[in-house]
């Protein structure tokens, strides 16, 4: 029971340590993959081994096709999401301000949130033809309704005493908007963005499978057409990694920063 020992300073290595701990099971899985495929002599058409996938992946990087696909997908997601947020948040706030209006409109928005994204693919291709327009519309749609609904919800659940307090302290309507309503609804907005982007990402992949000739979804689709399973696997991994990075390193911290920091809402 000694009273001395090495002093820990946990912080500097904590993040790398955590990242390693996160990667370890996945790396183990890759090893397992390789072992199973070689041990059972699995048909490469059914499931290729690790080197084949890596080689196929490398060739897509080399010939620039991966960059083209990833670029197209990310570009569509970005445009659609940004447009959606810019339109949905003001709309949501405008509607959320009046309790009566927000109660009335809530069923409408819930209905369309449910429908968001994938279900619009057929009609989107009819309206916009194949390509950028249709896909971006699907993404816009997926993010718009969810964000609008959550904004609506967020604003309408700001307790009236807060708004009264602002008024009693002489805030103008604009000031109430920027100082009270927007920050107050922000946790819900961010949660909405995160959920909406989840729908959008899935909708993106689905839409790209049928409605275009460039993008990650298309990459998958094309590979299947040519029975190039190794490209399929590579593309799946890329999709997984991109979304994981996007969600865990961008969206989740954003949600944590607003939601938990202000102690307003518990995460779902």
């Amino acid at each position: 029971m000694s009273a001395d020992g090495v002093t820990f300073s946990p912080v500097p290595y904590a993040r790398t340590w955590r990242a390693l701990k996160f990667m370890a099971p996945l790396l183990l899985l890759v090893v397992l993959w390789q072992v199973v495929v070689t041990a059972f002599d699995v048909n490469p058409r059914i499931f290729p081994d690790v080197p084949t996938v890596l080689r196929a992946g490398w060739s897509t990087i080399e010939d620039g096709s991966l960059a083209a696909h990833v670029g197209a997908s990310l570009w569509r997601v970005s445009v659609g999401t940004v447009l959606a947020i810019l339109t949905a948040v003001p709309l949501g706030i405008a509607m959320g301000v009046s309790r009566g209006v927000s109660d009335f409109l809530t069923p409408l928005f819930r209905f369309f949130s449910v429908l968001a994204g994938i279900a619009w693919i057929p009609i989107a291709t009819l309206w916009f033809g194949y390509g950028f327009g249709a896909i971006t519309f699907v993404i816009f749609n997926a993010v718009f309704f969810v964000v609008a609904y959550n904004t609506l919800l967020g604003v309408s659940t700001i307790p009236m005493p807060l708004r009264h307090a602002a008024a009693a302290l002489g805030a103008s309507r604009w000031q109430t908007l920027t100082e009270i309503l927007l920050p107050g609804a922000l946790p819900n907005i961010v949660t909405g963005i995160r959920t909406g982007m989840g729908f959008a990402w899935r909708g993106l992949i689905a839409a790209e499978m049928i409605a275009t000739n460039v993008g990650l979804g298309y990459m998958l689709f094309l590979a299947r057409d040519f029975y190039r399973t190794e490209v399929i696997v590579f593309a799946m991994i890329v999709i997984g990694v991109i979304w994981l990075v996007l969600d865990r390193f961008l969206l989740a911290p954003l949600e944590r920063a607003t939601v938990e920091r202000w102690g307003l809402v518990q995460q779902s």
Binding site: K21, F22, M23, A24, P25, L26, L28, L29, R45, I46, G100, F104, L105, P107, L108, R110, F111, F112, V114, L115, G117, I118, A119, W120, I121, P122, I123, T125, L126, W127, L153, F199, W201, R202, G203, I205, A206, M209, I210, L216, G217, L220, F221, A223, R224, Y227, T229, I232, V233, M236, I237, I239, G240, V241, I242, W243, L244, D247, R248, S268
Partner: protein
Amino acid sequence: MIALYSIWGYYARWTARWPALAAFVPFIPLIAIWAFLAWLEIFPRVFLPGPIDVVEKAWELLYKGILTDYLADSLARLAVGAAAGMAIAIPLGVFVGLNKKAHDFSWPILLFFQAIGDIAWLPILLVWFGFGLTTMTFVIVYTVLFPVVLNTVLGMRSVKPDLRRAAQSLGASPARILFEVTLPGALPNIITGLRNGLGYGWRALIAAEIIVGTSGIGFLMFDARRAGSVEEIVVGMIVLGVLWYIVDSWLLAPIERATGQRWGLVTAR
């Protein structure tokens, strides 16, 4: 102005007596606006049909039995997939939730595979199983799995330690603690997971049917697109939305409320 308020008053009283009304009435102005826009023919009829055209088409599909057949197909697939998904996911979730090592090991794996998303699996599933029921069921099971597992684990971890300690000091064995304390405590989260899972599953089903299917509502919409029949597409979308809305609001949400709120564990959303 006074007239507006008195209408508002009527509305408030009616919805207080029949809350279901509040779910329907807001759609009326929407439909009215839609009808107006369609009548104005800002967009050609081929792009934006009016509500009446859609209803006529719906009737036709219903009459021919196509709508009911396809709907039944879709629902059956969803039910099978969801049931299988839950049957796998809940025990898995419980296992991961109980065992710290299992949790640490599987958490990154679960997150990664969730990130890949159900749709991205379609091409490889088509290679393995072709265009059939297996492919579709797999997609739905996959989709339902993650929200349920993750929420189950979350629910189990969010049971207050004092409750477990109380059970221990009252002589409960670890197995009894699991069934009497941890699982009931996790139930609200599990139901939320179920609800989310079904929502995602529904979407995944539609996507799979659009891309792969030979029947079902998703297929209906996709086929209609090829035939250029907008009304059918819209019918499909409305059916989807209404069906989900009904299931979610009148079946799932009340269940979530009944457990969560009654036990004072969850506050209303």
